[in-house]
């Protein structure tokens, strides 16, 4: 596995994450991310074939609840902290022309 990321790859990952990174900062990110990936590369020194991955320390599965309404409508409260709303709806820039 190639452990170093170039500027173009970093820009691509940043786009996947919908994260704007200033172009002059990209080389720094590329250097730091490469160092981190190089660091985690140590994992590959161990053979883990047949080892069950661990998702929860207690190895329990996700608890399910009854499919009933448990929340009250608090739209007005929640929309008080929204950047932009109108008639109870959240406003975002136009998506469809």
């Amino acid at each position: 596995m190639l452990m170093s990321l170039d500027a173009e790859q970093v820009a691509r990952i940043a786009y996947l994450a919908r994260l704007q990174i200033d172009s002059e900062a990209i080389p720094d990110y590329a250097r730091n991310l490469s160092a981190i990936l190089d660091f985690v590369e140590q994992m590959n020194a161990v053979d883990t074939s047949g080892i069950e991955p661990m998702a929860h320390p207690q190895d329990v599965s996700q608890r399910l609840r009854d499919d009933v309404v448990t929340e009250s409508n608090q739209r007005d409260l929640f929309q008080q902290i929204a950047p932009a709303t109108e008639n109870g709806l959240y406003l975002v820039p136009k998506v469809i022309e």
Partner: protein
């Protein structure tokens, strides 16, 4: 005469019960201390003085009505990661600088029900990602033992506030060491409970399979009182476990004759500061004198903890932080030209460098074609690390070692080197990966800087850990030391 802030939280609880002072007097005393001293420490992001005094009055009324518990009227500092209704909950980030939480976290509800009084919200690394408090949008909190040094992180504000006695107790959260490392660097006691012990509901998520909230206070007895209120099942957190809550305070005085203490040879190896090791060995001698037995053990996969952690944590962080999109709450950029521009710039402006790095690492590790090589591999290594502990706990009752390899480092010293920063949590990370409970307990000083003893127990053994820590604190007074400038 002893001033109120020089008492432990447990002693203040007894003073309130005896009527030696009121909750209002107590709250006012700590609010005055915050006003007088926090400019030097920057340990609070928000101080809630009015609400604190109102809550203290209510606590006094409750006591007068004969309805007081041990925490009724006790002032506490809450890490700014817990949602607090009507109060800004910033998580140390510009992203949430304008976020007034519309609800209370379960931990906050529990403390409210116990009658505790919130003094304010403490400083922290942005979204709990950091080991020095330097990634906070609000500037770093400082270490009260030397304000040129870091308090540790991410719960650095809570640790600094308690160490300087600006609050008798605080909450923290711990994903890779964020309670224990700052507790060690600031000379206080901190406990990360078993994963699933305390509800994560309303606690802003960083890495959901690792995050756990816990108490930070001068002594183990104080932490026992706080954990008693925090612990318990909550169906709103789907990973919280239905496990009975022990009597933490009641278990403190048990003897430890015959306790088997495992010392992992990997935790006393290269990279550990000699003077720190000397303090740890002295604490271990105290345990021997109390009848405990020291046993050398091995945790052979220890060296893989940090590499696995720096896949699991960023991967889960990149997923959790995708909710911050500028649509419903939090920072939104000015004049977005379209929806995508709004997402990218709101997030680019709202998050700091370390958070961005982790989102990028996580996004890469989870991207098509890399999942097996990174996340799956890390989860397999997590199993190996957990198995090491299971084998160890077949032989010993608790595991001990240093909490950190060195005392507090200087502000700026590691800020430009992520990997060297990551390694300051080298002894604490494995405990989160395995989901075990762990504590840091003051164990002396090196050149005037505190050293923490790390105590790790088996699942659900919080009562035993607090008991073991309490026994050391009956024999030593490191947990009672207050930095000269804040006495």
């Amino acid at each position: 005469m002893t001033a109120l802030h020089q008492y432990s939280l447990a002693a203040l609880s007894r003073g309130l019960a005896a009527g030696d002072f009121s909750s209002v007097e107590l709250a006012q005393h700590f609010l005055d201390r915050i006003a007088a001293h926090d400019k030097r420490l920057n340990s609070f992001i928000t101080v809630t003085a009015e609400q604190a005094l109102a809550a203290a009055e209510a606590a006094d009324a409750r006591r007068a009505a004969g309805d007081a518990g041990p925490l009724t009227g006790i002032p506490l500092a809450q890490k700014d990661i817990f949602n607090t209704r009507g109060v800004r909950t910033s998580c140390g980030s510009r992203m949430l600088d304008n976020y007034i939480a519309p609800y209370d976290a379960c931990v906050i509800e529990n403390f409210d029900a116990s009658g505790a009084v919130m003094l304010g919200k403490t400083n922290m690394d942005e979204f709990a990602m950091g080991s020095s408090n330097e990634t906070s949008w609000y500037g770093p909190a400082k270490n009260p033992w030397d304000v040129e040094r870091v308090p540790g992180g991410s719960s650095g504000g809570s640790a600094a506030a308690v160490a300087a006695r600006l609050a008798p107790g605080a909450t923290g959260t711990d994903t890779g060491g964020s309670i224990r490392q700052p507790a060690a660097l600031c000379g206080i006691t901190g406990l990360k409970p078993t994963y699933g012990r305390v509800s994560r509901w309303g606690m802003i998520a960083f890495a959901s399979s690792l995050d756990q909230a816990g108490p930070m206070a001068p002594s183990a007895e104080d932490c026992a009182l706080l954990l008693q209120a925090m612990a318990g099942f909550d169906e709103r957190d789907s990973t919280c476990m239905e496990q009975p809550v022990d009597d933490y305070v009641g278990a403190l005085e048990q003897g430890i004759e015959g306790l088997r203490i495992g010392l992992p040879k990997e935790y006393f190896a290269e990279g550990l500061d000699d003077a720190v090791e000397a303090r740890i060995r002295e604490a271990l001698k105290v345990y021997e004198s109390l009848g405990a037995e020291l046993v050398e053990i091995s945790l052979p996969n220890s060296h893989l903890s940090a590499p696995a952690y720096y896949v699991v944590a960023p991967a889960e962080c990149s997923s959790n932080l995708s909710r911050f999109d500028g649509v419903r709450f939090g920072h939104r950029c000015e004049n977005p030209k379209d929806l995508e521009d709004m997402y990218c710039r709101s997030r680019g402006e709202g998050f700091g460098d370390e958070v961005k790095r982790r989102i990028l690492v996580g996004t890469y590790a989870l991207s098509a074609g890399y999942y097996d090589a990174y996340y799956l591999k890390a989860q397999q290594i997590r199993r190996l690390i957990s198995n090491d502990f299971t084998e160890a706990f077949a032989e010993v009752d608790v595991i001990m070692g240093p909490t950190t390899p060195t005392p507090a480092f200087r502000l700026g010293e590691k800020a430009d080197d992520p990997i060297s920063m990551y390694l300051s949590d080298i002894y604490t990370i494995a405990v989160n990966l395995a989901g075990l409970p762990g504590m840091s307990v003051p164990a002396g000083q090196v050149d005037g800087l505190p050293v923490g003893l790390h105590i790790v127990g088996n699942y659900w053994s919080e009562a035993r850990l607090l008991n073991v820590a309490h026994c050391l604190q009956m024999e030593t007074d490191w947990h009672q030391q207050i930095p000269e400038a804040f006495k």
